[in-house]
């Protein structure tokens, strides 16, 4: 394993310390590294709280700040945070208007946030994101994973919270943005969990994983390496087929951590051509490595259908370590 680290057991705390030092103008660190919070809270605003396993940086701590989250709880690598983290974070950032949890749909995350909500003794609602079309949906299963679309939910709901929307309205808006959002991913390599010390799965030099998640878990299918155009065609077809919508959209190409910008923009180009065929027009764009899987090579694409409210929320000023505009 080749990583810029010291002792594997301190990777998380050392990285968080660096993160907080580098962005001390925006964020502060909670006791025992349990959470990262906005330096200046806005009294009367609903507090937005997210979190999840680490290894997806900049998600979630990178989105703490004006116009997005009030706090983020980092779990161990790919492991949901524990309820004490969310309880402490909610205590720190709830200024009386209640707390909205934004949780990616993994059973670990859902259960730990559920326990935190039961134990916290305050007004809490939960938005669960499940944008990954690679997973077959059914009433009887875990359902779809929450992946890169979570960023869009956090951004749009964050803007509305900043504008003073109340807890119930934010919960509804979050669910609505989630329903307007679909993602799909492809991996060219596995990632390596520091504590495990070797790649999570083996992949041949001419193979790739289609429909991969963000935890180095295998995807739905191992297939032969294909061209960017062919990959884009399959991903966009899956997304558009599931969305069943045409019109203006936010189009987000997300790198998994080991993918250079050159390839992400090439994928943007390839996928935009496919979107056009399905009647989807990107009027807002985001390209970069925002929801990652450690050092995995590959990318996901996310489409959010836009209406005026969602567009306004996306465009609203934001000032966080990883996403910033208008401020």
């Amino acid at each position: 394993m080749k990583k810029l680290i010291n002792d594997v057991s301190n990777v998380l705390t050392e990285s968080l310390d660096g993160f907080v030092a580098a962005h001390g103008d925006i964020i502060t660190l909670g006791a025992e590294h349990k959470f990262v919070q906005r330096r200046v809270l806005k009294p009367g605003k609903v507090a937005l709280l997210s979190g999840g396993g680490s290894g997806h940086e900049p998600l979630h701590a990178g989105f703490v700040g004006h116009g997005m989250l009030d706090a983020a709880c980092p779990g161990q690598v790919f492991t949901s945070p524990t309820p004490d983290q969310m309880i402490a974070a909610a205590e720190a950032v709830d200024t009386g208007a209640g707390v909205l949890f934004i949780v990616k749909n993994y059973e670990g995350d859902v259960m730990n946030f559920d326990m935190a909500r039961e134990m916290a003794g305050r007004d809490i609602e939960t938005v669960i994101t499940d944008d990954d079309v690679a997973v077959e949906n059914s009433l009887y299963t875990t359902g779809r994973r929450g992946v890169a679309g979570t960023l869009v939910v956090e951004k749009v709901v964050g803007a509305a919270a900043e504008q003073g929307a109340d807890l119930r309205a934010l919960k509804q808006l979050g669910d609505r943005v989630n329903r307007a959002t679909r993602s799909m991913g492809v991996a060219l390599t596995s990632c390596t969990v520091p504590a495990a010390g070797k790649p999570t799965f083996d992949m041949g030099p001419t193979e790739m994983e289609m429909g991969v998640g963000i935890h180095g878990e295998p995807g739905r299918r191992r297939v032969a390496l294909r061209s960017a155009d062919e990959i884009a065609e399959e991903m966009v077809a899956a997304i558009a087929g599931d969305l069943k919508a045409k019109g203006n959209a936010l189009f987000f190409v997300n790198g998994f951590g080991g993918t250079p910008a050159m390839e992400l923009y090439l994928m943007y180009n390839a996928a935009a051509a496919q979107l056009a065929k399905h009647g989807i027009t990107p009027v807002r764009s985001l390209v970069g490595s925002y929801v990652t899987s450690l050092d995995m090579a590959g990318c996901s694409i996310t489409v959010t259908m836009l209406d005026d409210e969602i567009t306004k929320g996306w465009d609203a000023p934001v000032h966080t370590p990883a996403l910033r505009w208008g401020l």
């Binding site: 670990g108 730990n112 969990v193 295998p218």
Partner: protein, 200 residues
């Protein structure tokens, strides 16, 4: 019988900690390669808390173990194994019979199903815990039969298609691999059997 709680907990902890790599390897195949790391972190915390835990009466001690697991493990297994121990703490009488053990474990299984919205046959730890609870409750259980059933049940998850847990994302590709949580449950039950039988 009076349960040798401290010995039980030491043995369960030691077995889980030394099986961490195996559990992580199982989780690599159909999950996210952390089940062993999670469980090890949890039981190391339990061992570190031992003085505090065993200052309490047995029921409270078990609940404290559960709470430690909830607060240290994270992931899916943290709330689930945490709930398991907390429920055992609530349900086990001072000197439980085998049937008491069965009832308490059955109550835990019910709590786990509610927490995880899962059922038997979904390819999870429930596929070991559920059958063992039912067998204990039946009254016909021996240490030998419990141990055999735990091992069999873990193995029986191999051909299952996962409906719950991360492995469910894989669809048919989850078939052919043992569920990591089923294996950790098997290890814990085997450890308990060994201690009750007087093996270290």
């Amino acid at each position: 019988m009076a349960l040798p709680l401290e010995t039980l907990l030491d043995t369960v902890s030691a077995r889980i900690i030394s099986a961490a790599d195996e559990l992580t390897a199982l989780d690599s195949a159909i999950g996210d390669a952390d089940h062993g790391l999670n469980m090890k972190r949890g039981f190391e915390a339990v061992q570190a808390d031992k003085a505090g835990i065993f200052a309490k009466p047995p029921g409270e001690a078990l609940k404290a173990v559960g709470m430690t697991l909830v607060m240290k493990v994270g992931g899916a297994s943290g709330p689930l194994y945490g709930t398991l121990f907390m429920t055992l703490g609530k349900e086990l009488p001072e000197n439980p019979s085998v049937a008491d053990l069965g009832r308490a474990l059955q109550a835990s299984v019910t709590a786990l199903k509610a927490r995880g919205k899962a059922d038997i046959g979904n390819k999870t730890m429930l596929d070991v815990l559920g059958p063992v609870a039912a067998h204990l409750e039946s009254g016909s259980a021996s240490i030998e039969s419990v141990r055999a059933l735990a091992t069999e049940s873990a193995k029986a998850t191999i051909p299952m298609k996962a409906i719950r847990g991360r492995a469910s994302f894989l669809g048919d590709r989850s078939i052919g691999h043992m569920d990591p949580g089923a294996r950790s449950s098997e290890i814990m039950i085997t450890a308990v059997c060994d201690v009750l039988e007087g093996k270290p």
